[in-house]
C-alpha cells in the first residue's frame, strides 16, 4: 500500500472548540477511503483541512501536518488556490453558482486563465460525462444551473470539480440531500472515478461507506478511533466503540 495523503498528529481548534485531536491517518492512492462517525466527530473538519478550507475561520488553531506525495500542504510557498484545484471538494448541499450550467463547470478553469473555447468545451463534456449528467443537460448547457433538480445540481458540482482534473476528490456527504436514484447514480460514478482519482468520502450514512469504499476510518469526538479495510472495519472491528457504532448501538 503506497501512502498518498498522510495526516500526522493533526489537531484543530476553533476558539475553545477542539474539532480534531491528534489525528493520524494514511490514505492510499486511487482508492475510496470513507471517513465516518456520528455528528460532530470531526469528519468535515478533516476534509476541510485537506484543502485548507478550515483557514477561512479566523479563530483556527492548528498543529500537526498533512502531506500529499510527501510534501506538506502547509508550506508557505504552497498556493492555496492551486491546492484547492488539486484537492477538489464537493459539499453536502449542492452549491451551484448563480450562473449557467456551462459557466459553472468552467468556473475553475476560467480562474486559471483558460480561454481556449475548444479546451473549455472539451472539459465541460468530460466533467459532465464523468459525473453522469451529460445526457440530461447537453441540450441546455446555457440554462441557469439553479433550474436543475437537487440531484442534478449535486452532479453538476461533481462535474465542476472533475473538469479541473484534480488528483484528489473530497466528497462531503455528497448524497445527503438526494433521492435514492440520484444517490445510486453518484455512488456508481464514484466507483468508476477511483481509477483516476483518490477519493475521500464522508458517507451519507455508514452503509454507503460500506457499499462504495475500499478503506474506512472511524471518527468519534474528533479522534480517529480505527482505520482498516472496509470489510475489517464493518465485520471485525478491533475497537469496541467502532463495534458499537457499526452495530447500531449509538449514532
Amino acid at each position: 500500500m503506497s501512502e498518498y495523503i498522510s495526516i500526522k498528529n493533526l489537531s484543530v481548534r476553533f476558539g475553545s472548540v477542539e474539532a480534531l485531536k491528534n489525528v493520524d491517518l494514511e490514505i492510499p492512492r486511487n482508492q475510496i477511503t470513507t471517513v465516518f462517525g456520528p455528528a460532530n466527530s470531526g469528519k468535515t473538519v478533516l476534509m476541510r483541512a485537506i484543502n485548507r478550507m478550515i483557514e477561512l475561520s479566523p479563530t483556527l488553531q492548528r498543529s500537526g501536518d498533512i502531506t500529499i506525495n510527501g510534501e506538506s500542504i502547509f508550506r508557505p510557498e504552497v498556493d492555496v488556490a492551486v491546492l484547492r484545484r488539486r484537492v477538489s471538494m464537493v459539499f453536502a448541499l449542492p452549491t451551484p453558482l448563480p450562473m449557467s450550467i456551462y459557466e459553472n463547470v468552467i468556473y475553475g478553469l476560467r480562474l486559471m486563465g483558460e480561454k481556449n473555447r475548444e479546451k473549455l468545451d472539451a472539459q465541460v463534456e468530460y466533467g459532465l460525462e464523468a459525473a453522469a449528467l451529460w445526457n440530461e443537460v447537453r441540450n441546455r448547457l446555457h440554462d441557469p444551473a439553479l433550474s436543475l433538480s437537487g440531484g442534478q445540481q449535486q452532479r453538476l458540482c461533481l462535474a465542476r470539480s472533475l473538469a479541473l482534473d484534480p488528483d484528489i476528490l473530497l466528497l462531503d456527504a455528497p448524497t445527503a440531500a438526494l433521492d435514492p436514484i440520484s444517490t445510486a447514480q453518484i455512488e456508481e460514478t464514484m466507483i468508476e472515478l477511483k481509477s483516476r482519482y483518490t477519493i475521500i468520502l464522508v458517507p451519507h450514512n455508514f452503509h454507503q461507506g460500506a457499499r462504495v469504499a475500499d478503506r474506512a476510518a472511524f471518527f468519534l469526538g474528533g479522534e480517529c478511533i480505527e482505520v482498516g479495510t472496509v470489510s475489517q472495519i464493518f465485520t471485525a472491528p478491533r475497537d469496541s466503540r467502532t463495534e458499537d457504532y457499526v452495530s447500531g448501538r449509538f449514532g
Binding site: M53, V82, R85, F91, P98, L111, L146, C157, R160, L164
Partner: protein, 282 residues
C-alpha cells in the same frame, strides 16, 4: 368592541397615508398641468429660457432639467462605487468588531441635516474647487461630490444587506474551486447581490434628484445649461425652493409644473426600484 375600535383606528391611519399621497398628487397636477397645456410639453421641457416674469414670458426648464440630471449622474459616479466598496468591505472583509463600529457611524452620516452638508460644501469644497480646478467653485462638480457622500449611507446599508443575503454556499463553492477571495467577491458575490445593489442605486438616485437645500447652497443657481462640471447650474428642486416664495400667477403655476416633472421622474424611479428589487436573481 375594543378589537373593532382598534381595527378601525389602524385602518383609518393606513388610509390617511394613502389619502395624503392622493391629495398631494392631485394638488400638484391640478396646479401645474394647465400651464404645461398652455405652453406645450415640448417648449416647456425643451426650452432653454426660463423668464417667468419677463415680457414676453418664457417657461423653458431644460437648463434645470439638465442640471438635475447631470448632478444626479455625478452624485452616482461619486457615491455608488464608494458605497458599494464600503458595503463589500463591511460585509465580506471587516472583522466583526470593526463592522459593528462602522455601521452606526454610517447611519449617523445619513442623519446629518442636508443644510450641514451644504454648509461644508460651500465653505470647504467650493473654495478648493475654485482654487485648484477653476470656475466659480459653486458648481455641478462641487455639488455632485457632496451629494455623492450624502447618498452613500443609503447605498452602503442596502448593498450590505444584499451582500450578506448571498448564501454562504456560493462563497464556499467558489473558494473550493481555487478562487481567491477577491475573485469570489467579484465573480460570484456581487453578481448574486446585484438586484439589491441596483435597488440601492436607484434609491440613491431618488435622493440625489430630490435634494434641495444642500444643492441651493452649492450649485451657484445659475440659469444656464452647464457645459462643464465646473460651471454653475441650477436644478428643478433648487429652482422651486428659491422662487416659490415670491412667485404668483403663471410663474407660480410654472413652478408647480416643474414639480409635476420631478414627481413623474421620482415615481418612475421608485417603480423601477421596486421592479428591480423584486426580480429574482436568475
Amino acid at each position: 368592541m375594543s378589537e373593532r375600535l382598534i381595527r378601525a383606528i389602524l385602518l383609518t391611519t393606513a388610509l390617511l397615508s394613502l389619502i395624503s399621497l392622493a391629495v398631494i398628487t392631485f394638488f400638484i397636477f391640478q396646479a401645474g398641468v394647465p400651464l404645461i397645456g398652455q405652453v406645450g410639453i415640448a417648449p416647456f421641457i425643451g426650452g432653454t429660457v426660463w423668464n417667468p416674469t419677463g415680457d414676453p414670458k418664457s417657461f423653458g426648464i431644460l437648463p434645470m432639467l439638465l442640471g438635475s440630471l447631470y448632478l444626479t449622474v455625478g452624485a452616482l459616479i461619486v457615491g455608488v462605487p464608494l458605497g458599494v466598496a464600503v458595503a463589500v468591505f463591511m460585509a465580506e472583509l471587516a472583522p466583526r468588531r470593526m463592522a459593528q463600529i462602522m455601521r452606526p457611524a454610517i447611519q449617523l452620516l445619513a442623519g446629518i441635516p442636508s443644510v450641514i452638508y451644504g454648509f461644508v460644501g460651500l465653505t470647504l469644497l467650493a473654495p478648493f474647487v475654485r482654487e485648484y480646478l477653476g470656475g466659480p467653485g459653486l458648481s455641478v462638480l462641487t455639488s455632485a461630490i457632496v451629494l455623492g457622500i450624502m447618498i452613500m449611507p443609503n447605498v452602503i446599508s442596502i448593498s450590505e444587506d444584499a451582500i450578506r443575503a448571498v448564501p454562504n454556499s456560493y462563497r464556499e463553492g467558489s473558494l473550493a474551486l481555487g478562487a481567491t477571495q477577491w475573485q469570489t467577491i467579484w465573480g460570484v458575490v456581487l453578481p448574486a447581490a446585484r438586484s439589491g445593489i441596483l435597488a440601492s442605486v436607484i434609491l440613491g438616485m431618488g435622493r440625489a434628484l430630490g435634494e434641495t437645500m444642500a444643492v441651493i447652497m452649492m450649485i451657484g443657481n445659475a440659469l444656464q445649461v452647464p457645459l462643464s462640471p465646473l460651471d454653475s447650474a441650477t436644478t428643478l428642486t433648487s429652482n422651486i425652493g428659491l422662487e416659490l416664495a415670491y412667485a404668483s400667477g403663471q410663474h407660480r403655476e410654472a413652478l408647480f409644473a416643474t414639480g409635476v416633472v420631478l414627481f413623474v421622474l421620482i415615481m418612475a424611479l421608485n417603480l423601477i426600484a421596486r421592479a428591480v428589487s423584486q426580480q429574482q436573481t436568475n
